[in-house]
């Protein structure tokens, strides 16, 4: 039990997917300008990551590994994730239109997102069992959500500030803010 907790805390705080592992930077800079965008993106990401991790994990251990075709992992995972997102979009468009209006715009962005693919690959390369895979797949996007929401809140205050020198506006100050957050998170280093 404690192993699972350590795994989760490690994934969210210590090895945070953005601040420690530098993934998902592109959406971070693009989506974090408004907090409701950040939240929407995070919910969509959590959903897609968890279920596509399940699917790719199942595919790897039930199909690829018994046939010793592990080298197909990267390409198959990309295809599975992409197909899954298409199905999710279809389902939302037909049966949950309100949800589609809220979150549907982020789904195409998530298809080619580093984080979804990363979690799928990690589950396999780190040799997780089913429970560990589940916990990891929930924890990583939660860590992402935490960072991107905090980031968007800070950014909405910084972006409107006219005292900021012109060369720094936009993405430069965003990167420096990320540097400060990364520095703060180094403090979690000895936790696990």
């Amino acid at each position: 039990m404690s192993g699972i907790l350590v795994l989760a805390i490690g994934a969210i705080f210590v090895n945070n997917v953005i601040l420690s592992r530098f993934l998902g930077i592109c959406p971070l800079l693009g989506v974090s300008k408004k907090t409701e965008n950040a939240l929407g993106m995070s919910y969509a990401l959590i959903f897609v990551v968890v279920f596509s991790a399940l699917l790719s994990y199942g595919f790897y251990w039930l199909v690829l590994a018994p046939l010793h075709l592990e080298y197909l992992a990267l390409t198959s995972f990309i295809l599975i994730i992409a197909a899954f997102v298409q199905f999710v979009e279809m389902f939302l468009k037909k049966y949950m239109v309100g949800l589609y209006k809220a979150l549907g715009i982020y789904l195409p962005l998530i298809t080619t997102n580093c984080i979804v693919l990363l979690v799928a690959l990690d589950n396999v390369s780190l040799g997780f069992n089913f429970l560990e895979m589940l916990v990891y797949s929930i924890a990583v996007p939660l860590g992402y959500m935490m960072i991107i929401v905090i980031f968007s809140v800070i950014r909405t205050r910084v972006d409107g500030n006219h005292k900021l020198p012109t060369p720094f506006r936009g993405n430069a100050i965003a990167l420096i803010l990320a540097a400060l957050m990364a520095l703060a998170f180094v403090g979690f280093g000895g936790l696990v």
Binding site: F22, Y71, C114, P167, A172
Partner: protein
């Protein structure tokens, strides 16, 4: 004249369309592998290879692919290409592949490659797409080189280069003693910091250049206005 136009394609990938400093895509790699110049250089080579090959392939098939399904087709082509190049790298440049780790398949599959395929390769000839791949790849290489040189020199005080194919250290020079180096720069926060500062510097420089150009254009218009008013008189 034609050669000038072709050359323009390359330079626009390095300057006006620089993937890191202008378009802000593919940042994951720039931050993750730039703590030493050798690994940044290796990643730059890999990105150039994948970008050029994918641009050429997609430009070749652009007339065969129905417009509706072009994005899935590109995704598949690029995924296969990246798997092959990853295998090549693990075979011929094993240490580099180990250092780049998971960032090679992850990052290379995403933003930059698909972005260039969608924006350029599916609308232009093979030669133009090849040049665009070279240009954008060189732009990426310039960006990671700048970031990694700053990070390595300020962060460790040393500067060296290791040949990725033979894994021999080509040179290693300690520019100043290590105790004076700011080790923050080779850590995570340093990566964000160096990139943010570089972006700010480049913004400042390009704003100045744009202002100069506008002043020149305004100066050219003034004599025309003067001659018009004289002619009116």
């Amino acid at each position: 004249m034609k050669i000038k136009e072709k050359f323009k394609i390359i330079t626009s990938g390095i300057i006006q369309g620089n993937p890191t400093f202008v378009l802000f895509i593919g940042m994951c790699a720039v931050l993750a592998v730039t703590n030493t110049f050798s690994s940044a250089f290796g990643m730059g080579l890999a990105v150039i290879a994948v970008l050029v090959l994918s641009n050429v392939i997609i430009s070749l098939i652009r007339k065969l692919v129905p417009d509706d399904i072009r994005i899935p087709v590109y995704i598949i082509v690029i995924a296969v290409l990246v798997t092959v190049i990853q295998m090549f790298m693990e075979a011929f440049t094993a240490d580099l592949a180990a250092t780049l780790g998971v960032y090679l398949p992850l990052v290379v599959v995403n933003c930059i490659i698909l972005g260039r395929a969608e924006a350029y390769a599916n609308k232009n000839t093979v030669l133009d797409s090849f040049l665009d791949g070279v240009g954008t790849g060189l732009g990426f290489m310039a960006a990671v080189s700048m970031v990694s040189i700053i990070r390595e020199i300020v962060g460790t005080g040393a500067f060296g280069f290791t040949d990725p194919f033979t894994n021999t250290v080509l040179f290693q020079v300690q520019l100043f003693p290590q105790q004076y180096a700011i080790s923050l720069f080779v850590q995570n926060a340093g990566a964000f910091l160096v990139l943010g500062l570089l972006v700010a510097v480049i913004n400042a420089v390009s704003n100045k250049i744009i202002k100069k150009r506008e002043l020149k254009a305004a100066a050219k218009k003034v004599p025309a206005v003067a001659t018009q008013s004289e002619a009116g008189k």
